[in-house]
Structures are given as structure tokens and as C-alpha cells.
Symmetry: C7
Subunit: 236 residues, 7 copies
Amino acid sequence: MDMFMPRAYDRAITIFSPEGRLYQVEYALELVKRGAPIVGVASPEGIVLAANETPESELEDPEYFRKIYQLDDHLASAISGLSSDARVLIGQARVYSQSNKLLYDEPVDVEILARRLGDMSQAYTQHAGVRPFGVTMILAGVDANGPRVLTTDPSGAYRGFKAVAVGRKNDEANKLLEQKYMEGLSLEEAIKLAIEAVRIASDSELNEETIKVAIVPAETKVFKRLESEEIKGYLN
Amino acid sequence: MDMFMPRAYDRAITIFSPEGRLYQVEYALELVKRGAPIVGVASPEGIVLAANETPESELEDPEYFRKIYQLDDHLASAISGLSSDARVLIGQARVYSQSNKLLYDEPVDVEILARRLGDMSQAYTQHAGVRPFGVTMILAGVDANGPRVLTTDPSGAYRGFKAVAVGRKNDEANKLLEQKYMEGLSLEEAIKLAIEAVRIASDSELNEETIKVAIVPAETKVFKRLESEEIKGYLN
Amino acid sequence: MDMFMPRAYDRAITIFSPEGRLYQVEYALELVKRGAPIVGVASPEGIVLAANETPESELEDPEYFRKIYQLDDHLASAISGLSSDARVLIGQARVYSQSNKLLYDEPVDVEILARRLGDMSQAYTQHAGVRPFGVTMILAGVDANGPRVLTTDPSGAYRGFKAVAVGRKNDEANKLLEQKYMEGLSLEEAIKLAIEAVRIASDSELNEETIKVAIVPAETKVFKRLESEEIKGYLN
Amino acid sequence: MDMFMPRAYDRAITIFSPEGRLYQVEYALELVKRGAPIVGVASPEGIVLAANETPESELEDPEYFRKIYQLDDHLASAISGLSSDARVLIGQARVYSQSNKLLYDEPVDVEILARRLGDMSQAYTQHAGVRPFGVTMILAGVDANGPRVLTTDPSGAYRGFKAVAVGRKNDEANKLLEQKYMEGLSLEEAIKLAIEAVRIASDSELNEETIKVAIVPAETKVFKRLESEEIKGYLN
Amino acid sequence: MDMFMPRAYDRAITIFSPEGRLYQVEYALELVKRGAPIVGVASPEGIVLAANETPESELEDPEYFRKIYQLDDHLASAISGLSSDARVLIGQARVYSQSNKLLYDEPVDVEILARRLGDMSQAYTQHAGVRPFGVTMILAGVDANGPRVLTTDPSGAYRGFKAVAVGRKNDEANKLLEQKYMEGLSLEEAIKLAIEAVRIASDSELNEETIKVAIVPAETKVFKRLESEEIKGYLN
Amino acid sequence: MDMFMPRAYDRAITIFSPEGRLYQVEYALELVKRGAPIVGVASPEGIVLAANETPESELEDPEYFRKIYQLDDHLASAISGLSSDARVLIGQARVYSQSNKLLYDEPVDVEILARRLGDMSQAYTQHAGVRPFGVTMILAGVDANGPRVLTTDPSGAYRGFKAVAVGRKNDEANKLLEQKYMEGLSLEEAIKLAIEAVRIASDSELNEETIKVAIVPAETKVFKRLESEEIKGYLN
Amino acid sequence: MDMFMPRAYDRAITIFSPEGRLYQVEYALELVKRGAPIVGVASPEGIVLAANETPESELEDPEYFRKIYQLDDHLASAISGLSSDARVLIGQARVYSQSNKLLYDEPVDVEILARRLGDMSQAYTQHAGVRPFGVTMILAGVDANGPRVLTTDPSGAYRGFKAVAVGRKNDEANKLLEQKYMEGLSLEEAIKLAIEAVRIASDSELNEETIKVAIVPAETKVFKRLESEEIKGYLN
């Protein structure tokens, strides 16, 4: 039946279906489910973000095919979904982090930033004339409360995790994370776990050029992208 | 027939159906009926809020999976439905409580706050270009009139209760409350009753980590979350 | 046929059907027909408002389940329909009464207030982007012209009555009023008649807790809610 | 076929149908055709307005069930259709008459007022976001040009008549007026004719309480409602 | 097929159909085709406007049933279509003529006025939220270029004619004009021709009360309505 | 299938169809294809515009049936499509040319003007609430770069030609132009070619009254309309 | 099924389909797939842009049929899709480059410009009342990071490439580029490769008049269009 008649509530901008679902939000989540595999892992020694950044073509310059973005010294984000939508939120996040630093003279709290991005996303689900953002972000950083990994999604909700996978085959990747995550794991172990989870969610073989890893160690609280050589070490 | 043709009145933003129902509001209530089980109980000795805060995944950080929010010293809220919608109303409630304190130098009356949130919610049901809020809140606190438990819902209506359950299986939980609620019950008895009602509405077994309880004793008029150890005591 | 095809004129915001009816207004009246039974009766000695305020649940606090609202010293309202919509009109009525007192140093005329609320309601039936108010109000008070009972409805029309019933089973209640209303009845007789009309319109047995009565005696011109004990006296 | 498929041009706000008709305006005229019977008659000695003001219920206060409104000393209106829509136009007419008196120090010309109300009504037929006014008015008065009877309708058109009937069964009433109207008839004859026309258009028997008559004699140019006793005289 | 399915492009405000037609404009022209018969004729000695002004009822006052309007001393208009729409354009035309006289101290050029009204009409065909004007006007006058007869229509186009008929049966009337119009005809001959064309387009017999004629002689350049007696002379 | 179901993408204001076409723009082009035949030809000695200006009726005044408009001393335009839409663009073009002369003290460049009109037209294809312009223009003039012939169309695109025909039967006329156009042709030859192309695209025989020709010689750079007598010379 | 029923989600302005796709964006990409073949190639010695600029008619002036636009001294763009949409973005790009030079006294970074155009394009995919831009651009230039080739598309995404083909038959052209592109190729080799890729994507034979090539050598960082003669050299 779905194939023959338009369902009226599909059409309007983000209204409730009879079952109380926000269709536009659910459709945006469908898009995210087909997005790039990204993973965030928290360890007492810091946080790890890993992503499959395999470009579609050999001639594509991987430098512009980023899935991991630095937001502030102590804070980064991995994205899955529409990269152009993500840029809007990343831009907001950077401005907000800077303002926070200027106003309070301290790095922004990761949860406060997640709430801010969530509030902005929520507004795009309640008002006509716009569509929800088609992106899920993993926000990860080390703030006054220690290493933190949170997600924000198209509905504007945010949640916190010890470890989480988003995008293609996230079911398999999350199952792996649940099986292998251990409280108190080291940063090295967290990196290994994150890479393993990205690999299980990827359709093709990955190497040190196509998988990207970034960390914020608890000690330095400074964002750092791993070099290809370092990543290669973890792949074996 | 429902399955083959769009029903025209489903589509428009919160208009009346031929039967005089506001469909968008009713659909939002459907969403709430599938929300987290939350319970509020009033005793002469104070109020109790209890909620099932079981995260969906083992790796989810329960700290960000809150259903109970402090709004002011003497006042708290439990929510069921869309958490991102709830945040908008919680933000409004906190601002309103603070303004009230500054203007009148006394804690906000619980009913006045409920009316305020209800008026805001009502506006989202009468004007085009927005959808109703997809959340029902239990507001509970101790004000000049003593301990109070109220609910606000997507239509903008608010009601008062001695004890009330919202969310999944609220029929069963409310039946339990009606059977067991006794006038003049102590705060301890109220806590026990609230926990029992949340348990009956939950699909899985709960423990001191997944059920959360907060109180505002009539004596102190100060919000307090129960520790896991305290909750454990009530579970047996 | 109604069941198979959307009727296009159902959909748009308050436009005329081919028969010259305003569907959204008629649908709102459907809602009122299922509302709480309320009654207003005028006597030379004052006015009476009575309402069935039976809450849906035993645990519901009847204090917040009001159908009768004081608008000014000499003036009150009973409502049937959406309580959240009614609050918007009640708020307007209170502000307007106060302004009138400040400007003219005399209590607002009941008809002038009815016209004011009617004009506001009418605007919600002629402009896109809003829906009509889903409530009918009985306005009753004692002004310079003596005791007055008027109604306003979702179309913005207002009418005056010696006695009137609104809400569930209003046909039966109005028939009773027509049969039993006598010119020159006393305030006591008016109270009895109002209570009898609410009872006939109610599905369940009523008692002094579930039926509410308020009066504005012509002598004092001051609003007064009857105590449970007083109501009990009229019930036998 | 009308019964099975929505006609697209029914839906939009006051657009042309393929036959060049403005449906919303025609639907509003349908409403007027079911409205209260009203009649206006011009005589060299003044103008007469008559209306059936039978309330729907015995308990309804006829004082608020008006169909004839004074607009200025020399000018009145009878309405048929939505009373709440009519109030908007009546309010405009009164303000405009007063402004005219202040600006030019003379009573407003009846045609100029009709054009003003027509222009306002026309705007509601050409712009989206509003619906036409659901009312036809008879404007009658005595100005510098003598006694005048005009009508304005939902399209914004206005026309002048020696005698005219609007509302329910206006076909029969207008036929009567055409048969019996005589040039140079006296005011008394005009009153009799107006009453007769209202009676023929009414479904039930009328008496001095349910038929209302107002006049503006050419001599005094001052609006005057006939007393029940006077009307009674004309009924026999 | 037209009868069974809505044609989507009928609905939207003045958009192109697949054949490149503006439906709303064409529908408005349908309305004009059923409008009152009006005729304009240019002679070297001046211009003539003639119109059938037969009211629908015997009791209707022909004074308010005008089809010919004076716009300025040297300039007049006949209208066919919606009289309330026409009034908007006539109002604009009068204001524009007066402004022109004040600014340039000379009577407005007929073409410049036609362009002005056309530009206003065009805007109502290109923007959403409004519908085209449902009227065609014949503008006729004597300006610096001599006697001129132009038409403006709902699309905003304007055209010039030696003689032209608009409204009901304009095909027959225009055929007559083409057959009988002679270059250099006198004003008297032009009046006769205009009256004959109105007659051929009218469904019923016309007399000096129901046909109206106005002229602007080239000599005086001053608008003048013919008296009934004068018209009577031309009818035989 | 086209005949039975509305195609949803026909309806909305200028959105993409699944094939990536802008339907409203394509429909506007359909309108142009049925427009008046116009031709522009560039010669080293100047530019030529020719148009079929046969009025629909014998009585129509060809003076107001223009297809060729002077925009500036050195610059002219021929139009095909909706004349009322064209007037809007012509008005813009004249204002822009004058501003350019005032600002830079030199005649506007033909391409710059085409881009300006194209940008304005483009905006009407990307924003809701308006429809595209239903007109194609040939812009021709002699500027600092010599004689130039360009076209602008409803999409906002502009193109340059040595010779081009637009409107009815433009396929045949353009084929003729391709066959007969010679580099370095004289202005006289260009005039002959333009007239021949208009004739082949016209349904009826043309004469010196119904075909219009205008030129801007490279020598004078001053717009000039050919007299009937001159045109007659080229017709034989 | 696609052929029989409108798909409701096709219609609304850029919303998500149930599969999480933005249809309007995908339809715009369809348009680009039928656009002119354009190619960008990066070499350590500079960048190359090549395009098929064959006009549709022999008489069309290729000067106005451009696919390659200079944006700044060091920066150019080739476009495929709607040329009128492209002009809007090109205008923005030029203004932005100039502002950047004024503000920072250095040529704009190619990626920063791509992000800017992408952000503007993204906004047109998330807000109602507009449609996405129907164009894909290749941006190529030499900035502080060396030679860069990027693309922006209707979704607002931008990507970087060593070599890329857009428009008609881009699959074949990109396959060729992947096969023949060699790291470290010279500018001459890059020109040859770009021309070969344009040729493979073109339906007809190309010559030095119909294929256009522009370069920005790394040495000069100055945009230069190749002369026909130079291109001819590369064609053999």
C-alpha cells in the first residue's frame, strides 16, 4: 500500500504521524544510517574518534573528504550524514566554543555544547519552513568532568556513551563495542577498539590512508590527529 | 480505508477534525504513551518523583539519560516524550522561576508555573507553522500551599493529582496508585509507592541504577536526588 | 463516499464550504458538544453558574479541574471545551475588566465583555494561520443593567439567555430549563434549577464534591462560590 | 462526479473557477441565503428596516439577537448572515461615520459609506490568508440626497434599491415588493410593506415581539425603533 | 477526463499551465465574457462610451448600477466584470490623474494611464497571495494626441482601438463595429454606432433608461453624460 | 497517464522535476513559442530588429500593438510572449540604461544589460511566491564592442547571436537565417534578411503596415524606426 | 507505480523522502548530468579547466556561451547546469574573492571559497520558499597550498580532486581520467588529458573553436585562456 498512495503526513514539514512519530526526523535518521562509519570511545586517559574516510574515487583528494573536525583545543567531532548540513552545526559549535572561552575564560563543557547544538536542531523540527538537519555528530573531548563522548541527532536529542558507533552497519559496530569495551581501558586500547569498530562497519578493506583517527589525551587536553604511520601500527 | 486514502484533516497544522478533535495534539499524546514511565506522588511530608532511566545500550552513559530535572530549589519535573522538546519547556520553566524569585522575592507557585508552561504549549496548538510539544511533564514541588503534583500536556492543559503516572503502561501504574494511595501517607511510603508504580509500568527488571528518585521534603523545601544506596533500600 | 475521498474544503483554514458553512467552526462546536455540562441561570436576585467538575480519576485534585472562573468582582464564567483555549480567553477577559475599571471607574458591562471576546474569536475564524477557539463560555454577572447571562462561541457570536446549558447533553438540559424556568424566580430557586440541569446532563451521579456552584447576588454584586455544605443542601 | 472528486478550485482562497466565478464569494452568498429575513424600503417620507428576530429558544434574550443596528443618527443597517462577521463591518461603519462627521461636519452620505464597506469587503476576496465576509447588509438612511436604501454583499459590490429583501426566501419577499411597491408611498405604507415582506419570508408566525422595525423619517433624519405596541398596530 | 480529475495547475495562484497559459487570467477573462455589454468608439470629433445598465430587478436603483465612470475632465471608463474589482482600479486611475495634473499641470495621457493600470494588474498575475482583477476596462478620452480608446484586461495588457466592444456577445458587437465603422465619422455617427453595438450585444430590448451614453467631445475635452431625452433621440 | 493523474511537480512554484527540469520555466517557453514572430540581425554596419505587428482586429490601433521598443539611444528590444510581463522588464532596462549613463557617462554595454535582465529573471525562477516572466526578448544595439544581438529568456539565461528569430515558427525562420546569413553583410542586406525571416514565420501575408523594422546603424549609434514607405521598398 | 501516482514527497521544497534522500537536490543533480561536459585537472605546474562550448546553432555567438569563468587572478571556475543559476554563484564568488583580498591582503584560499559557496548552496536546501541551485562548479586555482581542483554541488557539499569531469557522460570521462592521470604530470600533459576527457564526453566532434581551455600556471598564478591556435596544437 505504501507504494500506491501518498501518505499525507509524510508531506508536511515535521509534523506528528498518527503513531506520534516525527517522520521528517525519522527520514533524516535513515540518511544517517547510510552515512560514513564513525566511532567514538572514552578512556580515562582521553577520548578517541575514528572514521572511515575512503573517498568514492581514486582521484578524489582525501584532504577534503573529512569526517573528523577539530572544534576547539580540547574538543572534536565526527560526523555521519550530509556533510553540508554538518558544516552548519560545526560552524555554530566553533563560534560557541570561542564565545564560551572569552566569556568564562575556560574551555566549554562538552555537554553544554551538545545541548546547544541539540537546541538548535530541535528548533528545526518544530517550525515550518525548514527541514531537520540530516546529520548525527559524535562530540568528544576532555573537559572539567574528564573525557566525554556524546552524540547529537536530527531530533535535537543528545546522549552520552562510553563508546558508540554511528552510520553504516552501526548495529554490528555497536555490538562489538559492547562486547569488547572494558572500564578503565587505556588510550591505546581505546584507539585499537575504535579502529576495529570502524573496520567492522566498513564494506571494503581499510588502510592507514582511508581510516582516520584523532584523540584528545586527558593529560594534554589537546586535540591531535594520528599520523598515517601511527595508524598503520594499530592496523596490524 | 484508513490504509488507502489520506485523510485530509490529518495534514494541516493542528486543525479540528469533523469530530472536533485536534489531531496533531492527539498524535503527540500517542508519542507520550510510548514514553518513559514516570511517576509523581504527593505526601503531606513532601513530594516524590520517580522515573525509569534505563538506557537503551549498556555503553550509554546514564548521566545524560535523565528523566528528572530540578527546576528550582523547591520544584522539579519528570518528563515523558521527546527529550529535545522537553528541554525547551524546562529552559522556560527555569527562567520563569528565577524571574519570579527576583520580582516577588518568593519561590514560584507550582500552579502558576504549570499555567505558564500550559499557555506556551497552547499557543503551539493554535497557530500554523509550528507543531505541538511532544512531551508531558509532571511538575512537583512544595510551595506556599504545601506539596503539589501537577501535569502539563501537549494540548496546554494542566491538571493536579495526589499521585499520577505518565508514559508507557500508565494505565496499570495509575490503577496501582488508585488502589494503594492513602491520604496522609508519609514521605517514605510515598517513595515506596512511586517506585512500585514505575516498576509495574516498566518492561524489564529495574535496579538502583536504572530507577531514579528525587524528593522535595515539606520540611526543607529543598530538592534532593536519592543516592543509589537509598534507592536500593526501597527496592527490597 | 465521505469515507473514501478527502473533502477539499475540510482542509483549509476556516473557509466556506459550498453550502456556506465554516467547517472549522462547526468542528469546534462538535468538540464543545462533548464538553463538560455547564449551566447559567439569571434571576432578579442574581445569577447562578453551575458545572459538573467530576475529575477523570479518583486521585485527580479537583482544585485544578475548574469549569467556573471568577473574572471580576461582579462577573464570572463557566467553560465547556478545551480548557487551554479557555484560559486564553479568560486571561483576556480579566485584563479587559481591569482596564475598564481603571478607565471608567465602573465595573465592565457584561455584554461589552461578551462582544470583546466575540470579536477576538471572530478574528480567529477569518484569518489563515490560526484555528478557531475550541470553547464556549457562559458569561454571567450583575452590571448596571441587572443580572445577565450570555454565551460566546467559537464563531465569535454571542447571545443572551434567561437560562442556558452548554456541553454534553445540552439538549436535555435546555429542555428542562425551558420547562421549569419561571420569570421572577428567586436566587435559591435559580440555584436549584441550575443544579438540576447539570445533573440531567451528566452521565454519572453527582454529589457536593463534583458539582460546583457560584453566584453573584444582585444585592452584593460580589462573586461567591458555594461551600460543599451549601451545595449538599440543594442536592436533596 | 461532484460527489467523488475534490474540485481543486474549491479549495484555494477566493480564486477564479474555470467559469470565472469566485467560489468562496458564492459560498458566502449561500450562507446569506439561509440567513434571517431582512427588508429595507425607501419612501419619500423616510426609510424603513424590518427584520425577523425570532430567537431559537424561548429562554433566549431577544435583546442580544439583533438584526437591526443603528450606525449613526440618520443611518441604520439590517444584517443577514454571520452576526460575528457583521459586527466587524458595523464597527467599521460607525467609526467611519463619526470620522466623517468630525472631518466634514455633516452626516456621512449613504452611498459613500456603502462604497467604503464594499472596498473593505473586496479586499477580503482578492488576497490570500483571509476569507470573504459572510454577511449581506442593508444600509438605509436619509442623507443630503434624501432617503436611500443600499445593499453590500460578500463580493464587495453595492447596489441601490427602492425596496429590497435579503436572507431566507428572499425570492418570495422580493416578488411581493415588486408587486406592491408604489412610487411615492407614505412612511406608514412603507412600514406595512416591509413587515408584510418579512412575514412572507419567515417560516413561522410572527408577532410584535419577534418582528422588529426601525425607521429614519425624512423629516427628523433621526433613527427610531418602533415600540412593540406600534408594531402590533401594523400587524393587523 | 477534465470532469474526473483535478488539474493541478488550475489550483495554484496564477502559474503557467503546460501549454504556457496563465489559467487564473483566462478564468478571469471568462468572467468578463459574461459581463455587461460596453462599447467605446473614437471619432475625430471625440469619443463615445455606451453601456447596457439594465438592473436585475425593477426595484433596483439604476443610479448605483453604473458601468460608465468619469475619471477626469477629459477621460472616462466603461467596465465589464466584477464591479467591486473595477472600483479598485477606478480609484487608482482617479488618484493617478489628479497627481499627474498637479505634477505636470496637464491632463494625463490616456495611454500612460492605461499602462499604469496595466502594470498594477500585471503585478496581480505574477505574485502569490492575490488573484488577478476580474474586470476589463475601456478607457476613452481626448488628450494631446486627440481622441483615444484603449482597453486594459486582467493580464495587464492594454490595446488601442478605433472602436471596441467588451462583455456579453462581444463577438457580434465587434463584427458590427468592423462592418460599420468608417474613418472620419462624426461624433453623432459614433454615438449611433456605439448604441447599435450595445443593443446587438444585449439579450433584452433597451430604452433610454437602460442604455447609458457618455462622450468627451474633442472640442471641449469635457466629459458629459447624455440625458435620457438625448439617448431617446438616437434610439429611433 | 498524463491525462489521468495530476503530476505533483507541475504544481509547485518553479521546482525541479525528477528529470531535473524546471517546469514553470519550460511552460513559459511554450508560451513564447506561440508569441509574435520577431527577428534580430547583426551586421558590421549596425543591427536590425523586425517584428510582425499585425493586430487581431481591423479596428485595433497598431500604435499600441508594439513588439519593438527603444530602450536607449543605441539600444532596442523586440519582445515575444506576454506584453504585460515584457513591460516590467522594459521598464527595468530603461532605468538601468539611464543610471549607467549617469554613473559612467557612457552608453550601457548590451551584454551587461542582458545580464542584468537575466539576473532579475533568474530570481523569479528560484523563489516561491512568484512565477517566471513569460517573455523572451531580443536585445540589439551598438555599443563599444560594435553591433550586438542577444536574447534573454524566462530562465534568466542570455545568449548572443549573429541573427536570431523568436516566437511562432522560429524553427523555420532560424533555418532561413542560417542558410542566408553571410558574414559582413550590409545593413540593407540585414534588413532584407530580417524581413524575410519574419515573413516565413508569419501565418498571413504581411505588408508595410503590419511588419515593423527598427535599426541602430553603427555609424550614428542612434535608434531609428523605418517608415512604411522604406519598409515597402524592402518588401518587393 | 512511479507512473501512476504522485509521490507526495516529491513536491515539497527540499524535504527528506522516507529513504532519507533530498529529492530536490537529487533532481538538480539530474539536470547537471545532462549539462555541458567540463573537466578540471591539477598538476604540480598549475591547474587546467577545459569545457565543451559548442553552441546550439551556427549563428550563436560563442562569446556568450561560456562555461569557464575567471573569478580572480589565481582562480577560475567551469560550470555545468543552469547558466543563470551559475551566474548567481559566480557573482558571489567574485565579491567574496575581492573582499578577502581587501581584508587580508592575499588571494582567497580555494577551499575557503568552495566552503563559502557550499554554505550558500546548503541554505537553499534547508529552507522553504527557494529551490536548490541547479549547477555544479569546478573551482580551480593556485593558492598558498599550491594547485587545487574542487567541486561544489547543489547539496552544498564540496570535494577535492586531482582530476574530475562533470556533466554529460562524466562516467566515461572520469574513467579516462582515472586511467591516465599520473602523479607529477606536467601542465602540458594536464592540458592534453583535460582536452581528451572533454572529447570523450562530447557527442560531436570538437575543434579549436568549440573546446575551450584555461589555465592557472603555478609559476605565475595568473589566469590565462588558451588561444585557438594553442588549442589546435593539443588537438592533434
